[in-house]
């Protein structure tokens, strides 16, 4: 199903927004920006309000009992049809690849998890691969570099989509950093269990970002951005960590500023 860019499609495209607990609590603007971009390209956005967390922190730390409970809740919260889109490669990868592991001994849940996994997309992946967007119609301007979040790149195999979108924004001067695919050191529970190693990795990431001279570093995962942004704000470097959705939304992101 591919829709022509820039034209209002005849059929509305039903999309359920999986806004992620992290963005909900720490960067609600990212969720709003995601809504703006999806609607710009003809999606009818639904927000299942009973959603909470996909369970990734529990799964990644080996606490599968708790992760399974959250996964069940997630599967109950989302409707049985239509696309599910999320501004997080990591959370999408959790549903797609983590849930089948959690439910490997429960055939019925496994089938359900797999079916949902087929319908879930990270934002840039959905825009480029499903909607066929080539011009994001964003008025954002600035020099931008892109950090490949590990789970978006290696988990979902999304490498080019965010770059294509960034390059297509007229006001964006896109510049690649070295080692863009090297982990920023976040790793969820890893950054809590081994903060010194985590920081060492973040410092190297920030060095690479600064070397580009970009004013913004963007990514498809808020976890990486909170981590990278946390180091940037501590030192006061002249660069801002900003989510890809916010760049794509441009000024329309401001509609959700009601904080």
């Amino acid at each position: 199903m591919t829709y022509t860019t820039g034209m209002d499609p005849k059929e509305p495209i039903p999309v359920s927004l999986f806004f992620t607990c992290l963005a909900d609590a720490f960067s609600p603007g990212v969720c709003g920006a995601t809504v703006e971009v999806l609607e710009r390209f003809g999606a009818t956005v639904r927000v299942p309000l009973s959603q909470t967390c996909c369970g990734q922190p529990a799964f990644n730390s080996g606490n599968r009992k708790e992760a399974r409970a959250m996964a069940r809740k997630f599967l109950r919260s989302f409707p049985d049809d239509g696309y599910i889109v999320t501004p997080s490669g990591s959370c999408a990868a959790m549903v797609k690849h983590g849930y089948p592991v959690l439910f490997r001994d429960e055939p019925r849940m496994l089938a359900r998890a797999r079916a949902v996994g087929e319908r879930i997309y990270e934002l840039s992946q959905f825009l480029v691969d499903v909607l066929g967007v080539t011009d994001p119609k964003s008025d954002f301007s600035g020099k931008v570099t892109y950090h490949d979040s590990c789970h978006l790149r290696r988990g979902l195999g999304v490498v080019e989509a965010p770059r294509k979108l960034l390059r297509a924004v007229p006001g964006v001067e896109f510049v690649e950093m070295e080692e863009s695919d090297r982990c920023c050191g976040f790793g969820g529970v890893f950054s809590v269990k081994y903060p010194q190693i985590s920081c060492k990795m973040t410092e190297r990431k920030v060095e690479r970002i600064l070397a580009t001279g970009a004013s913004y570093v963007t990514s498809g995962d808020l976890g990486c951005l909170l981590n990278i942004g946390g180091l940037i704000s501590r030192i006061g470097y002249p660069v801002k960590a900003i989510h890809l959705a916010e760049i794509l939304a441009g000024k329309t992101a401001g509609r959700w500023d009601a904080g």
Binding site: F19, C21, A23, D24, A25, F26, S27, P28, G32, V47, L49, S50, T52, C53, G55, P57, A58, N60, S61, G62, N63, R64, K65, E66, A67, A69, M70, K73, S77, V101, C150, H151, R154, D181, R182, C183, F186, G187, G188, F190, S191, V192, Y194, P195, Q196, I197, S198, C199, K200, M201, R204, L226, N227, G229, G230, L231, S233, R234, W256, A258
Partner: protein
Amino acid sequence: MELDANAFGRSARKALLDKTLQEALGRTTGRFVAHRDAAVAAFPEFEATRERASRIKRDVLDHLDTYLARFIGEAEKRGAIVHVARDPAQAREIAARIARDEGVTLAVKSKSMAAEEISFNEALQGAGVTVVESDLGEFIIQLAGEAPSHIIAPAVHKTREEISRLFERHLGEPRTDSIPELVGMARKHLRAKFLSAGMGVSGGNFLAADTGSVVLVTNEGNGRMGTVLPRVHLAVVGIEKIIPRMADLPTFLRLLPRSTSGQTISSYVSILTGTRRPGDPEGPERMHILLLDCGRSAILEGKYREILKCIRCAACLNACPVYQSVGGHAYGWVYSGPIGAVLTPLLVGLPEAAALPDASTLCGACADVCPVKIPLPDFLLELRSDAREQGLKTPGEIAAMKGYAGVMKRAGLLEAIERIAGVLGQFFTKGKGIGGMPYPFSGWTERRDFPAPAARPFRKRWKIKRGVMR
């Protein structure tokens, strides 16, 4: 080798502060990664070859008993004596007995991680045998009294200045910063040992079941000299190193040097088949092959079977940002990096090494480069889950997880907590990042800010703007 895997956190912090180590790590892992990437890029059949290698290894593991029997039969037919050790203690016993029975007092050894696993040198020293490491890197760390910190570059953590100091102290050589001169000093010293050693000890990269051959892949030539000059050759090899046919060897030789050092082929590939036959110009009169089970057949029966496909190329170490940051010693045993984080708990028991599976961000760089497609991140996750099931998690972590899962059960409860946190967060931080968090997040905020929760979470914003039902 002594086990100290659960001290990973402490050892890692020490490593992060070690300037010399940091410099050496940055230089060498960077070089390994660049060379490996270039070699793979110049080899279009890489994907197809690793797929084939993975299939061959899977077949080996599915029929390991059959292939082992075949290997033992073929090797013995050609004059080798094959021993199988159930555990490290038995392996040490067998090794010491071989040395005693063969009347050996000096042995030259080329590098072998399997030998490290069983503390081979200590076993032979206990039997009155002097063991001299002949791999340059191993020679250096033997002088320093240290353990290898990398599978194929054991002295990767040492700078040339440190090495020159060691050579001055132990070999009486003058100080130099010329690498060729340092190599020359080691060679001169080792040459004499090669000529007088009664036994050469090696590991083995592959064991060909259809010919009973031990295959050595090396760069320095010490492996070949040590296995053909002395009267006795002892190879110490894990049982999983079997390949079904000699004809499978090229598949692995295309992958191993490229993944290891970026070479298309290593300087030496030695195929050692049986003892010296009448008319052979060289070769050992006696050949012993010590096969190590040492936990492998237990791994074979469980969900981690594919870890035994490993060909010890070290590509996962070089690619791992955690290994790059802390080096090999922090992992506290023979194997380090992602392969060590999985293999160590499986070989020594999870309670002894539960800290290791946590030593990863799950970034997946290791799985990307593995030439035999071992799903390392999946195994790390699986081990973390095993740790919970075996009661190895702290009560604090479990309580935190239960609390967090409890909140996530109800969106209303989550929203209420978010809003309280938002109000408090905004009040105390004025919208800026949080500079100091209580334990267990205090480490996070040592050098980074933690984001302040938003005053109004998205769920609330959506309800206000679009209504509940939309």
